[in-house]
Assembly symmetry: C2
Homo-oligomer: 489 residues x 2
């Protein structure tokens, strides 16, 4: 067997272990009783340790070295590149750090699930301090191995190749460009018409499942469930998304599900021949987020799709001025200085991300202690958005990311929004019928283009090359700002 | 580190892998969309392969040899004995056979889930033939390694130490003793009063959850869900049982849940200090089944508990003559020559087991081909019970066991029923207040005794010693037959 073939076998095994862990993670968020936390933490730590052993084994390193000299096609060559990156990352970390991180983040996530509804930051604090301590050790070790600044090493974990200068270029521009646009949009927007409600949750469930099918989600290969924090999990072939319902609001669950469906379609359309290999995985979190935001923000909150949605909502929940096209537009294009990131509109959302980016950089650099996080959060919100939370539940307890150890993830939301605008523009140029299709609730043209240009390519190309191949130019905030100026003019 | 301590670390890891697989198995039966079958089969095969590697590693063998010479207490010594048994079993099987079995049984179970409702034995046949082929190879290899007849090697997998002569001694006696008792009980029994119904499934769910709490089930450490074939899964600390509901019958789900709760309490009460080690596991399937049947058949179908249940059922579903104590007794002590094992009463149930025992021995010995199974099943039912199924759905497709590769399991149901009668008699002798407690729906006395005598001992003692320690004598059918004669007199 060639060294390359040996590697494919090893990484297939790794894929299965990580797939098992993904299902356990879904179960933990959706199904597991809270007393299951202790054994689950042990299981996930052990699986993480096993995965780490496969990645770091001397045989893996030897085979990577040898395979470089073997005759490989483009996909195999790209696969080897991704294997090598994963190997180098993994060998940067001692096995006990990997297991400690898995255990600490499991415990911290569970503490967060209890602390958030109680607004009890102090109950979370010791768990989060432990996570931050371990993530700083992780960042330092990764940075040293990859020749990166520690925080860049965390960015790279979620979106390979992404570094602070590129993040700063987009976020600094948006920090300047957005506040006047928030101001202008708020001054200009139509008054909000609240839908009367209540909206029975059963009917919401039926509506969002219909929308998922329309987008192409296959319920033979996935599920929709409920969890405190919506996410897309599972594995290709069994993709599991979650949402949360409120009976006084149908719009939140609907757009949340459309968003997660964008993620799920990316996972479901990854190249089947390379499913169990690193090159068959999604290209990174920025690209992933571009897929969810393209569906939610670009396509489904656009006037074309809202025209389709309007009669559907009225058929299911009764006639309501809020569900007329003008009402939906007023609602879905509403701009507000709010406290909650996941409820934010697309103009203020990047400001929420900028806050988190600054705070997590300071947590990792050591310039901010966990105990000072609630105060720093309030100060940051006041400075960026002009609003201040009264509670930590509406402040630094609102997100799941840090308790689960995901530092370096937040920038991908906004870079993803920027990429979504760029891709949507390119898609419409390539397939001019897309806007007319959206008026009819059809996604074939858009999804066909995305599948060919993004999904089916997996990790074949580096992110920058993927973007240039699909859109003809590198990532830039221009199309995003033009999109805002068009929608909110 | 001592060799023994090294072994504890290795078996802790094995425990976590098997726990992860148990959750995946639960998910597959309860949650997974059918398209998830392919990736799930790969995941479980890979986890089985990893577990196999840990068990068969030369380091495991070396450490077992060395640990035998180290100073160990009783629990450690028993743990080493269980480790050695698992090691010897695992080294009997080549790794590719383990992975093939995991994959084939996953595919066969899924085929069974589709074939059963369609009564389509031919759709299952090729999958089941593959499973039988692989289980025969497994039995031959195990038997050779352990010095056992191939079928005994399968019995031993589910109940260590159990062999055909002991099974034959009980089953041959029952094959003689039961048919006249079926005859007598049917001639003597009160006419059945059918409850009017329908019984809304939501109210059934609430009732069975109340009963579970009453028995001591902790919903912070477990779940109740629905699946085609009820089972008890998950891990200690997160025990997951399932049932199925019918809105025209409340008695089936109720007794099914009480049965699975008996299993769940055994798992939940296993010795916490030894939870992650082989000696901390349940003593085997015969003992496991004794716990579920003790709760269901001995305690909850007895007149004392039915007196407690009667007003509860009437409060929840309205007054009904069928829910009066006499009606419940007539129903729960009903004896019928039925087609379905899981619906069988306690007198005919062993005859269903005897049929399966004979057929699976023939499948493993090679005297029966899978293609001839439907006919052999019909002939056997006619001979043992005097009834013949019109469909395979009510015949050889009714059970999940064979499709999942569980040959050698069925005898444990009846040996468990026999042991349950013996344990219940001993419990009442030790704690004479138990019958009065059951009239009040209290299980403290019974569960306290079972926890001390059975649950908390894990696998410390071999089954025979455990039974003698708890009841003062070896396993015998006497108490079971005496119980039948008392209940059905």
């Amino acid at each position: 067997m060639s060294a390359y073939a040996t590697l494919e076998r090893r990484f297939k095994r790794l894929f299965d272990i990580e797939g098992a862990a993904a299902i356990l993670n879904w179960d933990q968020a959706v199904m597991m009783p809270k007393g299951g936390n202790a054994p689950r933490g042990e299981q996930t730590a052990t699986l993480a340790g096993l995965a780490h052993e496969i990645l770091t084994a001397p045989e893996t390193e030897d085979a990577i070295g040898q395979a470089g000299g073997e005759a490989l096609d483009d996909w195999q060559r790209a696969n080897l590149r991704e294997m090598d990156l994963r190997h180098r990352r993994a060998t940067a970390l001692p096995g006990d750090l990997v297991e400690s991180l898995a255990r600490a983040t499991t415990l911290c996530e569970m503490a967060w699930r209890e602390a958030r509804p109680r607004d009890d930051f102090q109950a979370l604090r010791p768990r989060l301090e432990e996570v931050v301590r371990l993530v700083r050790a992780q960042a330092a070790a990764l940075g040293e191995r990859l020749g990166l600044d520690p925080y860049d090493a965390l960015l790279d974990l979620f979106q390979p190749g992404l570094k602070r200068p590129a993040v700063d270029a987009v976020l600094d521009l948006l920090a300047e460009a957005l506040p006047p646009r928030v101001e202008a949009a708020m001054a200009r927007q139509a008054p909000l018409v609240r839908a009367a409600g209540p909206f029975p949750v059963d009917r919401q469930r039926a509506l969002v499942r219909d929308m998922m099918r329309r987008l192409g989600f296959d319920f033979d290969h996935g599920r929709l469930d409920e969890s405190a924090h919506p996410f897309c999990g599972g594995v290709p072939g069994d993709v599991r998304i979650t949402t949360r319902y409120r009976d006084d609001d149908v719009t939140g669950a609907l757009m949340g599900v459309l968003h997660e469906t964008g993620h799920a379609l990316y996972e479901g359309n990854l190249p089947p021949d390379w499913r169990a290999q690193p090159v068959g995985a999604a290209r990174g979190m920025t690209v992933h987020e571009s897929q969810s935001l393209l569906v939610e923000m670009q396509a489904c909150r656009g006037r074309a799709f809202l025209a389709y949605l309007s009669p559907l909502l009225q058929a299911r929940f009764g006639p309501d001025p809020a569900f007329e096209p003008a009402g939906l537009t007023a609602f879905y294009h509403r701009v507000e200085r709010g406290l909650i990131r996941v409820d934010a509109d697309e103009i203020t959302y990047p400001l929420h991300v900028i806050l988190r980016y600054r705070l997590e950089r300071a947590l990792i650099d050591g310039g901010l202690a966990v105990r000072d996080l609630p105060g720093a959060w309030r100060d940051g919100m006041r400075g960026l958005l002009g609003v201040t939370p009264d509670t930590d539940r509406e402040g630094c307890l609102q997100d799941i990311h840090w308790p689960t150890g995901a530092f370096g993830y937040f920038p991908s939301y906004t870079l993803g929004a920027v990429l979504a605008a760029q891709l949507f523009k390119a898609a419409k140029l390539a397939r001019p019928s897309i806007p007319d299709e959206l008026v009819e609730g059809r996604f074939d043209g858009l999804m066909g283009w995305l599948k060919a240009e993004i999904h089916a390519k997996g990790s074949l190309l580096p992110m920058d090359d993927l973007i240039v191949a699909a859109t003809g130019k590198p990532l830039s905030a221009d199309d995003f700002l033009a999109h805002l100026d068009e929608r909110y003019a």
